[in-house]
C-alpha cells in the first residue's frame, strides 16, 4: 500500500517560535481516497495543509513523494513539478480569485503556464473542466466575473482551476465552511466524484465531523499540534479511542438529543497547550480518564486496533513502554 502512496508524511513538525503548531505528524494520502483532518481552531490542521503545499518549511520531518523528500527540495524545477502535482484550495474562494478577471482567465492561466494542452485546444479544455465541476453551460460561465457567481460556483471555479494541472493530490482547507449549507453537499459530492474518476488523493481539512464522515475514507483527529487519533472514518466515529474524539462527537449538535441529556464537563484547559508544551499528554487537563502517567509521559500514536491508532495511555497503551 505504501508503495502506491503518492504522499507520505513522516514526523512532520513545525514550530513558530514557542508554538508547536505541528508536532510529529505522520500519515499517508493514498490515490483515490479522501483523508479528513479534523480539529478545533488552533489545533494546527491548516498548518499541516500549508506545510504539504510548501507554503512553510517544516522544522523537521519529511514529506515523501515519488521517492524523494519534498520538504527538502530546493531546485526550482522540482518545486514547480511538486506544486503542480499537489494543489491547495482555500476556504474563501472569493479571496483566491482575481475580481477583474473572467472565469476563463483563471482556468486558462494554469493550462498555459504548465503547458497542459496545445494553444488551439485551450478553449476546449476550459469548457471540459467547467463541465467536470458541474458549471454549465460552460461558455456562459467562462465569460463571467467572480462577483457574478454564487459562493458555491466560485468554489467550483477554484476546483476547476486546480484540476487544470491534473494534480495527484488536492489539499482542501475548509472548502465548504464559507458556503451556505444547501450548497455544501454539492461540493462534497464533487470531491467524492473526482477522487473516484481521477484517482486523486484528497486531504480534507474541516472542523465538521459530519462532513468528514460523509466524504472521507480515513480520519485524522488533531489536538494541540498532534494527531491524537487516526483510522478508517466509520471505525473511528463508531468506536473512538481518544477522549478528545469522544468529546468532539458528544459536542456535535444532534436533533435526537435534546438539552440536558449529557452535559459536557467544564473545559479546564484550553487549546493553547501547544505553547512550550511540557512532557506529557496535551489533553490531560481536560481529560476525564487521565491517570498518573498522563502528565509525565507523552503518549505515542499506538495502533490499538488494526489501522486504528490513538495517542492515549489509557485507551491505546504502548506495549513497549515500561514504567
Amino acid at each position: 500500500m505504501s508503495a502506491a502512496a503518492p504522499l507520505e508524511v513522516r514526523g512532520l513538525t513545525k514550530h513558530f517560535a514557542r508554538v508547536h503548531a505541528v508536532d510529529d505528524v505522520s500519515f499517508e494520502l493514498r490515490p483515490g481516497t479522501i483523508t479528513a483532518l479534523v480539529g478545533e481552531s488552533g489545533s494546527g490542521k491548516s498548518t499541516v495543509a500549508r506545510l504539504l503545499a510548501r507554503l512553510h518549511d517544516p522544522t523537521s520531518g519529511s514529506v515523501l513523494w515519488e521517492g524523494g523528500d519534498v520538504a527538502r527540495v530546493r531546485r526550482h524545477r522540482d518545486v514547480l513539478r511538486y506544486r503542480s502535482a499537489v494543489q491547495l484550495i482555500f476556504q474563501d474562494p472569493f479571496d483566491s480569485l482575481n475580481p477583474v478577471k473572467t472565469v476563463r482567465h483563471h482556468i486558462e492561466r494554469p493550462l498555459r503556464i504548465h503547458r497542459m494542452v496545445p494553444h488551439d485546444r485551450v478553449e476546449e479544455r476550459v469548457h471540459e473542466l467547467l463541465r467536470a465541476v458541474g458549471l454549465v453551460p460552460p461558455h456562459e460561465i467562462a465569460a463571467k466575473y467572480p462577483h457574478e457567481l454564487s459562493g458555491g460556483q466560485r468554489q467550483r471555479v477554484s476546483l476547476a482551476r486546480v484540476l487544470a494541472v491534473e494534480p495527484k493530490v488536492i489539499l482542501a482547507d475548509e472548502p465548504t465552511s464559507m458556503l451556505d449549507v444547501s450548497i455544501r453537499i454539492g461540493i462534497l459530492n464533487l470531491m467524492r466524484r473526482l477522487k473516484d474518476e481521477r484517482d486523486i488523493a484528497f486531504l480534507f481539512v474541516t472542523h465538521d465531523l459530519a462532513s468528514a464522515r460523509y466524504v472521507a475514507d480515513d480520519l485524522l483527529v488533531m489536538y494541540a499540534g498532534q494527531i491524537v487519533e487516526r483510522g478508517p472514518v466509520e471505525e473511528v466515529l463508531a468506536s473512538p479511542l481518544h477522549p478528545y474524539t469522544r468529546l468532539l462527537l458528544a459536542a456535535v449538535p444532534d436533533p435526537a438529543k435534546r438539552l440536558h441529556t449529557e452535559r459536557i464537563e467544564e473545559r479546564r484547559g484550553v487549546a493553547a497547550a501547544a505553547v512550550d508544551p511540557p512532557e506529557g499528554c496535551r489533553f490531560v487537563s481536560r481529560c476525564p480518564i487521565a491517570v498518573d502517567v498522563c502528565s509525565r509521559v507523552t503518549p505515542q500514536l499506538v495502533e490499538a486496533r488494526p489501522r486504528h491508532a490513538a495517542r492515549c495511555h489509557v485507551t491505546a497503551p504502548d506495549p513497549e513502554r515500561t514504567t
Partner: protein, 339 residues
C-alpha cells in the same frame, strides 16, 4: 431520544407575545431584504430563526433593535414590544429600550469588545449608560455575571486579548445580561467557535434562561443546532418566513420543500449514510426576486406541466397557513394537497 419525546410542547398561545412582528418589511435600496414578515416571540421561549446567508435573518434582528444602517430602512409593518410599536420612536426612547428591554450579541461579537479596555470597564460602560449605578456595585454585579457564564471572576481585570474566543463570546453574553433584559437576540453567537465551546455556551444560555426568564431570538444558519436547543423554529427564505413550528415538529414533520431540503443538507453523524443532494441552484437576488413563490426555481415539486398548481407556484405568492396547531407553512403544494 426519550428526551425528544418527553420535551414538553407547552401551548404558549394564551400568553401575549413579548415581541410581535407584523408585516415587517425592510428595504435596502431596491432590494427587499425582509418582505412582510409576521413573527411572535413569547416570554421565556427560545425562538430559532434559520436560513441561508442574505435570507434576511440578521436584518430582522437589526430592525427589532432599530439599528438598521442606511440605506436600510423599515418600509412597512410594525415591531411591537409588549404591544408598543418601536417603529418611529425617538432616538432617546430607543436608547432606553435597547439593552434595558432587549440586548443583542452580534455575529463574531467576540471581536466587538474594545481591545484596550479591561473586561470590567466594558461592563461599566454598558451599565452606567443605562442606569444610575455606583461603580463598586456595578463591578460586583459584573463579577457575578462572569461567574454565571463560567468565567473566573478575577478575569474582570483581563484585557480581551488575554481571553480565548469562547471566553470573549461569553463575556459578551454576560454584558448582554447586565441590565436583565426580557429578550436577548443572539445572532450567530457560536458560528466562529468550535463545537465543544459552542455546546458549552448553548448549555449556559439555556441555564441562564431558566434563572432569569428572558426570551431568546436565536439566529443561525445551522438548523441542526436549533433542532436541539430551540423551542420553536422559523425558517426564512429570500426575505420571507416560509415555515414556523415547534422544534420537534420541524425535526420530524417539516412540510415546506425548502425546510426539507435544508434538513437534508446536513449529513448524519450516525446511522446509514445516503447520498445527499442538498438544494440545487442558489438563493435569488433580492433586487429581482422570482415571481410567485420565491423558492419555485429551486423547488423539486415545481414542474412546468401547465397545471393550475404550476401557475400558482410561478405567479401567486403563497401565504403562511396553519397546518397543525402552532405549525404554519407558506406553500401552494401543501395547501392544495393538504400533506
Amino acid at each position: 431520544m426519550t428526551a425528544l419525546m418527553e420535551a414538553p410542547v407547552e401551548p404558549r398561545t394564551h400568553t401575549p407575545a413579548l415581541l410581535e412582528l407584523r408585516g415587517l418589511t425592510v428595504e435596502y435600496g431596491r432590494a427587499r431584504a425582509v418582505d412582510g414578515v409576521d413573527l411572535d416571540i413569547h416570554e421565556g421561549e427560545i425562538l430559532g430563526l434559520a436560513g441561508e446567508s442574505a435570507c434576511g435573518k440578521t436584518t430582522i434582528a437589526n430592525a427589532v433593535m432599530q439599528i438598521l444602517r442606511p440605506p436600510g430602512r423599515i418600509a412597512g409593518g410594525q415591531v411591537l414590544f409588549r404591544g408598543d410599536d418601536l417603529v418611529g420612536k425617538s432616538a432617546e426612547e430607543l436608547r432606553r429600550f435597547r439593552w434595558l428591554n432587549v440586548s443583542m450579541v452580534f455575529q463574531s461579537a467576540m471581536n466587538a469588545l474594545n481591545p484596550v479596555m479591561r473586561v470590567g470597564d466594558q461592563f461599566l460602560d454598558a451599565m452606567q449608560a443605562h442606569e444610575k449605578i455606583h461603580k463598586r456595585a456595578a463591578l460586583k454585579q459584573a463579577e457575578e455575571l462572569l461567574e454565571l457564564v463560567g468565567i473566573d471572576r478575577r478575569r474582570i481585570r483581563a484585557y480581551p486579548h488575554e481571553l480565548s474566543g469562547g471566553m470573549r463570546q461569553r463575556v459578551m453574553i454576560a454584558i448582554a445580561l447586565a441590565l436583565n433584559p426580557e429578550l436577548i437576540i443572539l445572532d450567530e453567537p457560536t458560528t466562529a467557535l468550535d463545537v465543544v465551546v459552542q455546546r458549552e455556551i448553548m448549555q449556559q444560555v439555556e441555564a441562564l434562561k431558566q434563572d432569569f426568564g428572558f426570551a431568546v431570538l436565536f439566529i443561525t444558519h445551522d438548523v441542526s443546532l436549533l433542532l436541539e436547543f430551540a423551542d420553536r423554529i422559523a425558517i426564512m427564505y429570500a426575505g420571507e418566513v416560509v415555515e414556523t413550528a415547534p422544534a420537534e415538529q420541524i425535526a420530524t414533520g417539516a412540510q415546506h420543500p425548502y425546510t426539507q431540503g435544508l434538513l437534508q443538507s446536513f449529513p448524519p453523524l450516525t446511522g446509514p449514510l445516503e447520498r445527499l443532494t442538498g438544494i440545487p441552484g442558489a438563493p435569488p437576488d433580492l433586487r429581482n426576486p422570482p415571481s410567485g413563490c420565491r423558492f419555485h426555481p429551486r423547488c423539486p415539486h415545481c414542474v412546468s406541466d401547465g397545471s393550475r398548481l404550476y401557475a400558482r407556484q410561478t405567479t401567486e405568492r403563497p401565504v403562511l397557513r396553519e397546518v397543525a396547531p402552532g405549525h404554519a407553512v407558506a406553500c401552494h403544494l401543501v395547501e392544495e394537497r393538504g400533506i
